[in-house]
């Protein structure tokens, strides 16, 4: 492990990769800060750029963007009460009241320190957990993988859209349908290509991500008539107050950070849960832990109320890398985008990544820690300046997002058909978004589609066409029970909510 850490440090600390972490954190902060644009959009916009680099550098850039976007989301939550990402909604509960009291600088500093601590502690957990889990996951067989993928999709569908389980499952199926377009991987038989050569290679992953996130986010902002810069105009972005945190506040944070980090990391590892659930749970847990007099301050600018969700959402980000790096199965929409990008590099994440590409495995883990340091020392002093980006009017912001999306696809294929297909998917995605059909399950299913079919093929061939492979191995049975529990829980909650 020490050798691996050193390999990772060597790769992550190279000049090019350090620059990538910095650029990633900076770009992520800016994009994540804009309400409506989250880490998935930020990463999607970066994918065409990463293909110009080697896989380790590309992944380091994307990891930097991920952390930066989560941090940027907290900034807009605190300053304008408009969370850039769902994972920072709980941050606004106490961050915004603190900003209203003239302590915006302090709130941003608390958020930055908590994010740093949460991210660092969970990066250490990841350092310990990932290699051990990699060894365990070597015993996984095709039926287990197939079961795990179903579990991942079911969990994401269950958690990503409260009360919209069926809608999320429909999006999963749509994602799998889109993934099935093109030649069959084994027999090369064309499927759903409608005799056009443009579809014979299938639909590009970057195209689907750009269309369902970057482009449809932009179109949703326009059709709903939202203007993210309006809220920013109501507060002074030039005078945010002091960023100093006093002894009493440091003491309060010191008590909150360890427990929120552990909770955030565990939630992050679970498929489908992620930063949003982690931050809400941490907020709720913290409220139960504090004394009654402190409890009264929750929702009115409590230091612990701000520190807990910020620590947990960053810890969950690191945690979500565990299933991606060790099993090759993403636990969230954002890591699904990263998996897609890795597959584009010709790298298959999974238990063998630890042995076959140790430089990538370890450099990503090490770059997470470096990313945390960069976020703290680069972004904190620059926040008063970066915050002014919140005032960029949508008249300029939206065309820029659309331009980067179209250019990204154009540079990859030089093909009009792909641009038209992307616009078509974006329009459909915008309509679906209006009626609360979630997009993360679609992306996760699109990325997992090929792997899922491959594992089902192997399982059915081994069992000679019988579905008994689902209950032949104890591990597969456990996974199937977990899936059943999630489905039953969804049915139970829907019946309960009707009463």
């Amino acid at each position: 492990m020490i050798e691996g850490i050193l390999i990772g440090l060597k790769t992550a600390l190279s000049f090019q990769n350090l620059m990538m972490v910095m650029i990633g954190c900076f770009a992520g902060t800016i994009i994540g800060m804009l309400p409506g644009l989250g880490p998935m959009t930020a990463i999607a916009l970066m994918i065409p750029i990463t293909y110009g680099f080697d896989p380790a550098t590309g992944l380091i850039l994307m990891a930097g963007v991920y952390y930066g976007a989560v941090f940027g989301g907290s900034t807009s939550s605190i300053l304008i009460n408009a969370p850039g990402v769902p994972g920072t909604v709980a941050t606004a509960f106490d961050g915004y009241p603190m900003a209203q009291q003239g302590k915006a600088g302090k709130a941003l500093a608390i958020a930055a320190y908590s994010s740093f601590a949460g991210g660092t502690i969970s990066a250490i957990f990841l350092l310990i957990a990932a290699p051990s889990l990699s060894k365990v996951s070597l015993s996984f067989r095709s039926p287990d993988y197939f079961g795990l993928m179903i579990l991942g999709l079911t969990a994401v569908a269950a958690f990503s859209s409260k009360g919209n389980f069926l809608k999320a499952m429909m999006m999963c199926v749509l994602g799998l349908m889109l993934a099935s377009v093109g030649q069959d991987t084994l027999s090369d038989i064309p499927r759903f290509t409608f005799n056009t050569m443009n579809l014979s290679d299938g639909i590009s992953f970057v195209l689907v991500v750009m269309a369902t996130f970057a482009m449809s986010e932009a179109l949703t902002i326009i059709i709903k008539g939202n203007d993210p810069s309006k809220a920013a105009k109501q507060i002074s972005l030039t005078d945010l107050g002091s960023i100093k945190v006093n002894k009493e506040e440091t003491k309060q944070m010191a008590a909150t950070i360890p427990r929120s980090s552990i909770l955030g990391f565990i939630i992050g590892v679970l498929p489908g849960a992620g930063a949003t659930i982690a931050s809400f749970l941490a907020y709720g847990m913290e409220r139960n832990f504090v004394k009654n007099e402190e409890k009264e301050k929750f929702g009115k600018g409590s230091v612990q109320g701000l520190s807990a969700p910020e620590t947990a959402n960053n810890a969950a980000c690191s945690g979500s890398f565990v299933p991606l790096l060790t099993l090759g199965i993403p636990g969230s929409g954002t890591t699904a985008v990263m998996l897609g990008a890795l597959l584009g590099f010709g790298i298959q994440p999974g238990p063998r990544l630890y042995e076959t590409n140790p430089d990538i495995f370890w450099s990503v883990i090490m770059s997470m820690y470096i990313g945390m340091v960069v976020l703290l020392i680069l972004n904190l002093p620059l926040i008063p300046y970066i915050a002014r980006i919140l005032a960029v009017p949508r008249t300029f912001l939206i065309p820029m997002i659309l331009f980067f999306s179209v250019t990204g696809i154009y540079l990859m294929s030089f093909n009009n058909f792909d641009i038209f297909l992307m616009i078509g998917i974006a329009v459909v995605a915008t309509i679906l978004r209006l009626y609360d059909f979630p997009m993360p399950p679609l992306i996760l299913a699109f990325v997992l589609g090929g792997l899922m079919e491959e594992n089902l093929r192997r399982s059915l061939l081994i069992s000679d066409g019988s579905w008994s492979f689902l209950w032949n191995r104890p591990l597969t049975v456990c996974i199937m029970i977990a899936i059943l529990l999630i489905v039953c829980w969804q049915i139970y909650t829907s019946i309960k909510s009707k009463k």
Partner: protein, 156 residues
């Protein structure tokens, strides 16, 4: 059963899944693969049934949280104009070239979204695209097809 937009979308999804299932059955597999436990059409067939199952349930079951979208609050005109601009941009980018088509796309998009400060419209279109092209083509050596700039001798 109340008919609302979500139900209509679910119905469309049901029809799409049925069409997908029909097309899946039409996939021509090799003769020796026809009775294999798994062939090129097995997975799509399962997907077609899954799509019909979930959308069917969504149509039949009552809505837990009905979504109300008031069409009068939606900015259809701007959105349609923007989508149309993107389609024209996509159609012209190869023939007219990256520089002119992108710059014009940005100018029209800013204008359609309500921007009237021409100084900023110009700065964030033609010079912005020129710098972007220089970074991509000149610095990162990413190929950008531009027949117009090639014709007037700016690009090689």
């Amino acid at each position: 059963m109340k008919i609302n937009s979500v139900k209509i979308i679910s119905l469309l999804f049901f029809i799409l899944s049925a069409f997908y299932l029909y097309t899946a059955h039409q996939i021509q597999v090799f003769a020796f693969d026809e009775n294999a436990p798994f062939n090129a059409k097995t997975f799509p067939i399962y997907l077609g049934y899954a799509g019909m199952f979930f959308s069917g349930l969504k149509i039949v079951l009552p809505d837990q949280k009905p979504i109300k979208v008031d069409p009068t609050n939606l900015e259809f005109k701007k959105t349609i104009l923007l989508v149309f601009t993107m389609i024209v941009y996509g159609a012209t980018i190869l023939k007219v070239g990256f520089f002119l088509s992108t710059s014009l796309f940005l100018v029209f998009s800013y204008y359609f979204l309500g921007e009237r400060r021409w100084k900023y419209i110009i700065i964030f279109s033609f010079p912005f695209v020129a710098i972007f092209m220089y970074l991509l083509h000149g610095v990162l050596a990413v190929y950008l097809r531009d027949p117009l700039l090639k014709y007037i001798g700016i690009m090689g």
